[in-house]
């Protein structure tokens, strides 16, 4: 293992904080913050999955929300039929069945769309993955029985032996352990021969091909793994929100996921987790700051301005600022300070 680098320390401390904080929130009667952290961790899992492609493969997927959606509907659709009848072959509350369905469906979707998408490069790849994502979005939109645009409420969460996902803390711990495992998988993958080929293809695809590697196959495998991890995150998200709608698959959500990875710092282990943390927490923080500012101004102008709804303004400025002045996302900032 050797001595930890500065980045290593930050990663360790951050992950420890994520492990300790939610139980504290729970015991101090702040269940909302448990929810917030759960959402953060679940999205971080998807972001870690995306980062395999984006950070290490140089393949910018703009359609990853589709996998999350597929994973979530893999919980919702069997549960819907178990509650309301019909489609007996799929009706089930069984968590393992739903999870298997989520993984299989997202892997299959990744395999089929990836096989086509990987024929293209660069920004064309970005757009074709978005096209596939939008197709999945409109597919679920067209399913009248599962609510179409209105979405589907999951009345019963996935049933697993020994543990109950109805308990917010249990659900959180499952998500947290999954995140750690996902980060570990990514770390192992990236440092394996497979990861080397993938990164080699990112740098210079032709050279890797000349060296005798079928990079297309490597990239396709990476795409399937990445999509399955996102599908797994979807399985958790469905269980967490107990409400799913086609909106979860929309390109804006794929965009957010992508922004999380870039903001945190692509091709780092902690980056996606950091990015998703910022994305989830920033709304609460900025609304708080704007509200505080509003209160400060109120005596001066005699009325509340309702500044809270304008929190997008400082957020947008912050994103521009990060891109202009920080190289390599927030992890880049840390790295530079570490030197």
């Amino acid at each position: 293992m050797g001595r930890l680098s500065a980045i290593g320390w930050v990663t360790l401390v951050f992950m420890l904080a994520l492990a300790i904080l939610p139980p504290i929130f729970m015991w101090t009667g702040q269940p909302f913050y448990v929810d917030l952290t759960t959402r953060l961790v679940v999205l971080a899992i998807a972001a870690v999955g995306l980062n395999i492609l984006l950070g290490f493969g140089g393949l910018v997927s703009f359609g990853h929300a589709a996998f999350i959606g597929i994973g979530a509907y893999a919980v919702g659709i069997p549960a819907y039929h178990a509650t309301w009848g019909g489609m007996d072959f799929i009706a089930s509350y069984n968590g393992f069945f739903q999870l298997a369905l989520a993984l299989a469906a997202s892997a299959l979707f990744a395999l089929v769309t990836g096989a086509i998408a990987l024929r293209t490069k660069g920004v064309y790849f970005l757009m074709i993955t978005m096209a596939f994502g939008q197709m999945a979005y409109y597919f679920f939109l067209s399913l009248d029985i599962y609510g179409g645009d209105d979405g589907l409420t999951i009345d019963v969460r996935s049933e697993l032996p020994l543990i109950s996902l109805d308990n917010p803390l249990t659900l959180y711990l499952v998500a947290y352990v999954s995140l750690v495992v996902a980060m570990f998988i990514k770390h192992t993958l990236v440092n394996s021969r497979f990861g080397m080929v993938l990164q080699g293809a990112k740098g210079n695809n032709e050279r890797m091909v000349t060296l005798g590697f079928n990079t297309y196959k490597y990239q396709l495998v990476a795409y399937v793994i990445s999509g399955s991890i996102a599908g797994y995150a979807g399985f958790l998200l469905g269980n967490f929100t107990t409400f799913i709608s086609p909106d979860m698959l929309d390109w804006t959500r794929s965009g957010e996921l992508m922004f999380m990875v870039i903001l945190g710092g692509a091709s780092t282990v902690l980056g996606p987790v950091l990015g998703s943390s910022i994305f989830i927490l920033i709304e609460e923080v900025l609304k708080g700051v704007m509200g505080w500012f509003d209160g400060l101004l109120e005596p001066l102008i005699g009325r509340e301005l309702g500044l809270e709804v304008y929190w997008h303004l400082p957020f947008g400025l912050m994103l521009i600022f990060v891109v202009l002045f920080v190289r390599g996302g927030l992890m880049g900032l840390l790295k530079r300070r570490g030197k």
């Binding site: 702040q30 909302f32 645009d149």
Partner: protein, 391 residues
Amino acid sequence: MKKIVTAALAATMLTSIAQAAEVKIGFVTTLTTGGAVIGNDQKKAVDLAIKQMGGKMGDLDVNLIYGDDGFKPETGKQATDKLLKQDNVDFVAGYIWSNVLLASRKSVLDAGKFLISANAGPGPVAGKLCNENFFSTSWQNDQTPQAMGEVLNQKGVKSIYIIAPNYAAGKGMVAGVKSTFKGEVLGTDMTKWPTQLDFSAELAKAKASGAEGLFIFYPGKAGGAFMKQYQQAGLKDSLPLYTVFSVDALSLPKFQAAGFTDVLGSQFTQFWDPTLDNPQNNKFVADFRAAYGSYPSFYAAQAYDSMFLIKSAVEAVNGDLTDMDGMRAAMKSASFPSVRGEFTYGNNNMPIQNFYLREVVADADGNWTTKIVQTVFEAHQDSYAKDCPLK
């Protein structure tokens, strides 16, 4: 970064410890995106109601917390969860959009709190998903178009074409008008909600269908866009327009500013009108106009009512917010002063009320508003009540 987060967390923890004798009400509405036009109007009405109450319901101080649904079911549910879990509200009210209400209802009801819809009334909530802790200060979605279907029959319209958005409320509106309209429906177009605002293709189809009338439902800004395109297509004489929830006090000043005179004289059905003559409504409309300089919309009227409904519950139990049965009974009696006048609640806690035909006119000062032409239904109950197991 992390410091800020910790500071923010600590601050919220501190504030939640200091609690006075108060009733906490969460109000979920749309405060961002184009849908915020409606949300802001509801907010104005709620603020006005609380101000008139002197900030108190009985002996309890009112602590009102707004949640923003961002025009999306998922965001609305998150806002609802936050109100329940972080702010510990006693009542959750609001909900403009049917899909947001459907997504959020389970959170509120599972938490054992009262859910008051100040607009949305999708069929399931009135029928198989009805709940003793759910109350509406609006209507069930199908009722208003049912009244319009009746008006169409009275006018002798033989055939109509329908254009509506493809979401829960849109489907309810279509089902509603189809259930009472005795003529023929020559075609139905469901459009992408809320993004589609150009209706050229649908209008061309409607015209080609040869129908005698065109029925639409487009709340918010889509309504304005539709009316404009309808006028540009020059269909006023060949294909008269019959609307529900598409022309309101929010769009009329905009139409007036744009000199869009075709709207004058257009008719639509509703449960309420600013000219309804009862003390509560007169006070509401006068105070609202005095405070904000414009006529209140029906969205505002319903939001205003929701606050007085909650007040009646709180006062009935003398501020004992643990007495759920007492509060429920008080609300069920519908004894609060409503802007719509007297009404009763059905077994599913949806109002049994009158529906009127409203017409767009200019008031004495030249401002565009509406007046009542006739009463279409008296004490009308929605058709889903029979699916609701409650008594």
